[in-house]
Amino acid sequence: MTPTDDADQQAPQPSPEDEAAVRRLLAGVREAGPVPPAVAARLDDTLAGLAGARTADGAPVADVVPLAPRRRRRAAALLVAAAAVVVGGIAISSHGSSGEDAGSTSADSAVSREPGADAEVSGAKDYSGGGGGDSITPHDRTKAPTRSDLNALKSVASARVRPGHLVPDLKALRHGFARQVGRSAYSADAPVAPDGFRCAPARYGHGVLLGVRYGGRPAVVAFRIPKGDTQVVEVLQCGTADVLRSTTIPAG
């Protein structure tokens, strides 16, 4: 017989008794034993090889990028380049400029999202609706990161965040900018990163967004606006905003 659905459609519906008998027969041949020794040894060897292939800082998992809708692939061509430029450009295009941003360079606007970019990544997560500790008041939204904000953030961007030392690295990262930026820095929705940092745009939500290397790969760390004494921090996949890691750190 042929193992196809067509053949099955010809099989008459069994009586409840026959169906029960079939299920009893199937339950009777359940494999209840352990993995055969030869297979177990093979698995152990393979696992040892995988563990040995791990990078020095122990981060193999970052090599696998979560699948994204095909449409996002097109967005991947839209690479975010220099940091200050990105944040400045987005802020200006989205909210207009406050006094300090009025002097943004032409490069600022040049790197604002290309037309259609939002539509391309519309399926990406939107963190701006809260839930991640990133809610921003209407007053906050009228502000854009200031020039001094951008400079402070750029100085700490592209840091390395180690998967095995997530919280200490994030705390150190925050320590590097916390005293130098104002609340307006949390209104950004595009990452700050140094020249040459490549990370496709996505809806990363609002917050202090920094381009970093996570597990050896570009990623975006999103420091959501502090709530009380704590602050949600997420590591996001470039181009999709998929959450790779999420944690809460002291905001003080």
């Binding site: 099955d8 099989a11 008459p12 008998a21 079939v22 034993g33 998967p163």
Partner: protein
């Protein structure tokens, strides 16, 4: 993290964080059960071993993509079952010929072991023959139907759990199970008729009188030597 500590999710997270032992501990918890599913789904020990290995590698590397929207064990099963089904599809495996009577498909020896050594050899032979017939019939099903039946009727997963593992709708699982059983009812008619006369043993897996393939009571694999799946979250 201590190698023997933590829930499945904690072990997976520790692995992502770089813990060198966490994934091994996690996989060891479930590999017997994963092997059982792989073996019955493929009907071939070589393909099952390949599928299990491939699934393990994929899980090791893709741990960072685990979202926590299903139990870790469900996620592991999904990866392994998909690896097995992909292999079957790619290789278009068809094992119509029965295995030798004296060789278990697990490669461990006797098809049915006489556990206590006191079983009547004739009875032992009958049980082995019955087992062989059931496995042969199972191998004749389409892989998708076989996988559904293995999960629900053999391993005791609920329809919802099987649907999560197979990444399809619950209705699809029910349909595959129903059609698979209908086919098996034809293929196994002699055994069914024989059982009707002599055997009134309760069903070991799902309850037979349920209106569909899944019971409403808490589900899990039949209690036996294999570990039960954990659902830490």
């Amino acid at each position: 993290m201590a190698a023997d500590a933590g829930t499945d999710a904690e072990l997976l997270s520790a692995h992502v964080d770089g813990d060198a032992d966490a994934f091994g501990t996690l996989f060891a918890r479930h590999r017997d059960r994963l092997w059982a599913v792989a073996l019955r789904t493929t009907g071939d020990p070589e393909v099952a071993a390949d599928g299990l290995q491939e699934g393990m590698i994929a899980a090791f590397r893709r741990a960072g993509s685990y979202r926590g929207d299903a139990a870790v064990t469900t996620w592991l099963h999904r990866i392994v079952v998909n690896a097995c089904l992909d292999r079957l599809r790619a290789q278009k495996v068809r094992r119509a010929e029965p295995l030798p009577d004296d060789v278990d498909e697990t490669g461990r020896g006797a098809l049915v072991s006489a556990a206590d050594g006191t079983e009547d050899p004739a009875e032992h032979g009958i049980r082995s023959e019955r087992r062989r017939q059931v496995l042969d019939a199972l191998r004749r099903l389409a892989p998708d139907q076989r996988a559904a039946l293995v999960l629900v009727d053999m391993e005791g997963y609920s329809v919802a759990e099987a649907a999560a593992i197979l990444d399809c709708a619950e209705g699809t699982v029910k349909s595959r199970c129903s059609r698979g059983r209908a086919r098996l009812a034809v293929l196994l008619r002699p055994l069914i008729d024989a059982d009707r006369e002599t055997d009134d043993t309760p069903v070991a897996g799902n309850h037979a009188n349920d209106p569909d393939v899944g019971p409403t009571s808490p589900r899990g694999p039949p209690i036996g030597p294999g570990p039960r799946p954990t659902h830490p979250h």
